[in-house]
Symmetry: D2
Subunit: 427 residues, 4 copies
């Protein structure tokens, strides 16, 4: 189904050639200031054709809120959002090459196998246009998470082809053991990321190499893949639902639902399989770091909620243990395959399998999707965290109305902040 989330539920609609694409966001907390201006920036970051951030933006994918707000404040009721499609005319099926051959590694053939209806959009909802609804909904979730907890979500390009921001080395089979990488996770901002447009890899030299690599593939009418790394900072502890809905499981689900993704790893990831447990374990230490400004100004902080008493010395776990957030930065990496649409000629079979022929795409194609994938990864991360936050808030509040017992302590959300010490002493 086209729905994501249980508590903050997003339902999207729309293909490439219909009237509009959009979504309904159900479960947004009431009483939050919200207008299109909160949503449009991420829509713009998602749009194709951004050669630099200084480019005058022709805001084509303009989002229109249909319901759920009044005088710029959320009512708590479903928020309908819509973006018009420019090309609303579906093409009739004729004898064109594309109608005869399913495009290799596209969704043309699998959609036909699934639905049994020939559509001019071919792969139907596998279109990149479908991600518009996700980005719009994600922007709403992000705003809440920032206001309520000071949560920050930032994604950036970490590799294009074999050009890596942190190439695997003997010392660091995974970047997570590299202090430079961990420092970047602590500090990187969207503003910084966008200074490295068009590639969005926050390193002058690596970024230039990536740009060159992409250009060379473009020249050959070929394409190349890459990875996006994302960090979620200031996340409260206690998020994630045992046992099927562990926080990393939901993140993996969310990321692999983005078109063209092939892999997901959290924390140490695949590289972590090669590190001894004695190194990989993250020892606990007292959490005495200073409160970031954005957290200090959040609703949770205003409510007097302290932060978790403990944190971990290293963070190979990626901020999640036993499927539940521990308050440390959550970070993960997503693999994107080379785009399937290429200008080169490809030999492939007709729908009926009786013939083989040559297929070559016309027009301009994106030789690498990772720069544009950045805001989509952020949006899906926001949807996962938002849902987990609401779930944990419900549990925490429910528990808070019960008489205190010897075995129980105050912990978790809204503060994500276990006033563990005192309570445990009392017990």
């Amino acid at each position: 189904m086209s729905t994501f989330g249980e508590y903050f539920r997003v339902t999207t609609y729309g293909e490439s050639h219909c009237r509009s694409v959009g979504c309904i966001v159900d479960g947004c907390p009431p009483g939050m200031e919200l207008t299109e201006a909160d949503i449009q920036p991420q829509m713009n970051r998602r749009r194709p054709g951004q050669s630099s951030i200084t480019t005058p933006r022709n805001e084509k994918d303009r989002v229109m809120i249909q319901s759920g707000t009044e005088f710029g404040v959320t009512l708590g009721t479903p928020i309908g959002m819509m973006v018009l499609n420019e090309d609303q005319r579906p093409k009739d099926y004729g004898n064109q090459t594309m109608d005869k051959y399913p495009r290799p590694s596209h969704a043309d053939w699998t959609y036909l196998e699934k639905y049994g209806v020939k559509a001019s959009s071919g792969g139907g909802r596998s279109s990149a246009r479908e991600t518009i609804g996700r980005v719009a909904a994600g922007a709403i979730a992000e705003k809440y998470l920032r206001l309520a907890y000071g949560i920050e979500i930032v994604a950036f390009v970490s590799s294009v082809g074999n050009v890596h921001l942190f190439p695997p080395t003997a010392e660091h089979p995974t970047p997570c053991t590299n202090p430079e990488f961990q420092k970047l996770l602590q500090t990187i901002s969207r503003k910084t990321v966008d200074e490295y447009l068009p590639v969005r890899c926050p390193n002058e030299e690596v970024s230039r190499k990536m740009e060159d690599l992409i250009a060379s593939f473009k020249q050959r009418s070929d394409s190349i893949g890459g990875t996006v790394t994302c960090v979620i900072r200031n996340c409260p502890s206690g998020l994630g639902e045992p046992c099927f809905d562990k926080l990393e499981a939901k993140l993996a689900h969310a990321m692999l639902s983005i078109p063209a993704t092939k892999g997901f790893e959290i924390g140490s990831g695949f590289g972590g399989c090669e590190i001894p447990g004695s190194t990989h374990n993250d020892p606990f230490v007292k959490n005495d770091s200073e409160l970031p400004e954005v957290v200090a100004q959040s609703g949770a902080a205003r409510g007097g909620f302290p932060r978790p008493r403990l944190t971990t010395k290293t963070n190979y776990s990626g901020g999640i243990q036993g499927g539940i957030s521990n308050g440390a930065p959550i970070y993960f990496r997503v693999a994107f395959k080379p785009p399937a649409t290429i200008g080169q000629e490809q030999l492939t079979a007709t729908y009926d399998g009786e013939e083989e022929g040559i297929l070559a795409a016309k027009g301009r194609h994106d030789p690498c999707v990772v720069p544009r994938a950045v805001p989509i990864v952020e949006a899906m991360a926001a949807l996962v965290i938002m849902d987990a936050v609401l779930a944990q808030q419900a549990r925490h509040t429910a528990k808070s109305l019960l008489p205190p017992l010897k075995q129980t302590i105050n912990s978790g959300l809204p503060a994500g902040n276990g006033v563990t010490e005192q309570e445990v002493k009392q017990a």
Copy 2:
């Protein structure tokens, strides 16, 4: 929540020290022969302490069906299943070291942050015992998938530490481009995998190396991670729901919900990011391979359903395009971190953060979990495919009752087999 699946819905319960662990399977098709004998084998493969397949099994984790069958046939009603816990006595909280220090990289601390209740099981449902319900439910799904479609699901260990069955090379940054790997996926069986116990890596030499590596970690009271690769053969086309519930997204969700997992990749995966699109695209070819015996005997084949007309020449996509299965083998790899419980001493903080001290686990610990993870990966894969099959069967049947139109063809499930050619010609 502790529920997985929409159509074939599995709900599990149970911690380490309670009376029993188990699950309810809701949505199992009626009229299928089913007894405990169908389920126990995978339960045994999951159990700890299997040094070889010839070892006489003391079937401790004995599953008992509570409901949903009569005279060995499923009724279509919920199937309750239960496995007794041997150690049902929760330990009282005292002044033991484990009660004072949350174990590093375990779920002790995050569970306390989440629930605010001190439990003798520490990480509660993050216990490996929780996977019993999954394996039991998965065995039921597997039986149906085999009877109805001839689907085969086989997982095996593909790496332990830095010992790989198919080490990445310059030529093959991902094994998916290696013909040896693709051939293994076509032929590997559970029987073969279990011939390589205790490691379950189907290669004499590599398996021995892995065994030695694990032994060396054991000796040092340390632990090491590894990866499990899984293949799903004979899967019908058309499985997977756009856009949030793409088949690979559900698989990723399922795999990352298994304790100790850190990563997931489908098809070419992370390595695929480094392959040019012109190579990575899978051209379509006519599907004229012989029908495997297990498929020929399936319900779908008996119903006269032909297979998909097309297949792909290469299979870098991993059997899924646009989130929907294309009939080719689905294969993916799952990363497992080194187990957190190690005999070595670890310096860590107390719950209240006021002290640091030394924690060392006693008793026997598993220095590497991947061999036992094999049946759990298979079980979760079966649950995902089962759910997708039922969803697509519903859609296919619904469509089949509508008047045929110019744009529509017969395709997908139950046959997964688009009688595409003829229908398109008529249109």
Copy 3:
């Protein structure tokens, strides 16, 4: 949440004063002809201000399909639908009487208690405008049900105030024992119902009495309630999910979710509590009635599916036994309270409870809602049946791929038609 259904999932959005109201229908079978022309007629029947069916309709609530169809055929992807709001200007809160006093028996106060946001719409989504999305979605479901099974859903007004179409008598405490009533259920059509506009009670004399009664309440600036009876004919057997989602439970849920409803009864209903079991039981008889034309032309009939072998002599059960449809007509009655908005002055308290004052509604008010409720009841009934049909189709298809056993027979959907006899003999 604003979502209804599991398989045919409808999500609605919109208040009175926002840009538009609408819905997303997810799970519509692909390959069905569908345009706005299939949906608009029920939208028109729902609109206010219909004094007679011959009145020239100014189609104000014009539905626009946004996605999910191409060239008038459903793609299987989500169908977005939208209806513009005419009055899109929310009113600012001032010192008006309505802002000071919550309207008695409206949702003004409870919405404020729930969401904590003052909205110009007062009761937010409790507005009658919210039902637009339901009616649009219901029209799609109805079309499928008719094409696939020949299902017909017809509702009509059965009482206004104390004027009943079938008043309870000593002989017939419930109309279900009255042959006249049962005959009406077998034959009534929407066309006939609309001949009795403005009241939609299909009896010349009773209809006129109701009209007079409503007029008298209008004159007094007062309001009155009534009941709507609905019948679902040609429904396949086997619909409804044990045990929480019995078919009558879903119907009750659906009906009580319509604004202003206060009660629901199925079959013999409350009156049935007073009938002895020996009378109330419906004996089985062979089903040898002629196939209705609409069924003969349905997809199920074209597929060669016979009807259920049995039917019941009487039908006090209302077509459902043990929560599952038995193929007999399903009928139920829904109670609507008198509209809360009346022109009469009412003494009530201010929001803060500190004062009492007089509140009187201005403008034109509907003194009785039942005539307009007719298409809404039909729409919600269609959504329930559609969801149950898809669930049962999934189960039936899943079972059909299993090897036949001694205990199993072919039955239920797609045919709803147990070829019970022969199969049982073989067994």
Copy 4:
């Protein structure tokens, strides 16, 4: 599916002849004292064969908690519960009369149509034994609701056949306008109800009449229906989700899912259709009643949460307006049909429809189910309210972390207590 609720999710399993019946409760708040002793009393009230409350109880349906608690405190993880079946031997199908004839108005035939499997239990999960899981889960919900809010749920028998506790009169077409009835709702307790065993109608004279009526039906080997009325007191305001999940819609769903039910009405119900709006509207008045003891001791009260500022003078709405609770007592009535199993001979058809014959049930049958239905109605009411409470707690907490705005006020849960006045003045 066999699952009820979104936040407090109950999944049940079990038929009449399997090993056990039971359920999994997922989403129970952590940190609540809970043992079997909290659950068994309602299990006992549900059991057959209670001729009076003084009867020594042989506690046959003994519930065993499997998981989710430790040292008598809930962990927040799923609570598995089980009750053994005494008669675990399914009967083989032979040539018995019952195997040849589907029992009239039972679920034998519809289950066969639905599942296509012949089962010795006939109607499978439509068995009264299935309600055991509901009652067990309901008892847990009730305990939380009482501790957290002082909520009280009491059901009683309001009619048997045509003997009514409050017979409809010209003055009071519905009891809701009768002050005696409203007073009873305010004061009735389970203890009082059980003083009127075996009928559970809290009126000496009416109770005796009902007992006589039931006896006369028993003598004739016949059966009779009746109604159960239920009141939920001290419910916070703000419960119920627009628009499909209005609180009355969920209650209707829950009640109609109980075996043998035929109708549901809330507040004024069907009788309310005949009352003018000017009478039916409930004017608001300041809420200055004294806090009941059970509320004063609740977690909400301890948290300093005041009650709603307003209440209604009359309560024809039944405590719900616009689908949302307003803090006034919620009351509703449920219709139960006469039991289908009667000793009298019945003429009916064979499964294959080829023959008609005589069917007569043997053994002891319950001629009227309403007395035993009382705890089941209470349990389902508790499940609905529990789910709504958790949903509203989540929303309320989410909102509380946002910066206060001009349009927003504090209201609703956890306190259900809109400190409306002050806040509005500030705004």
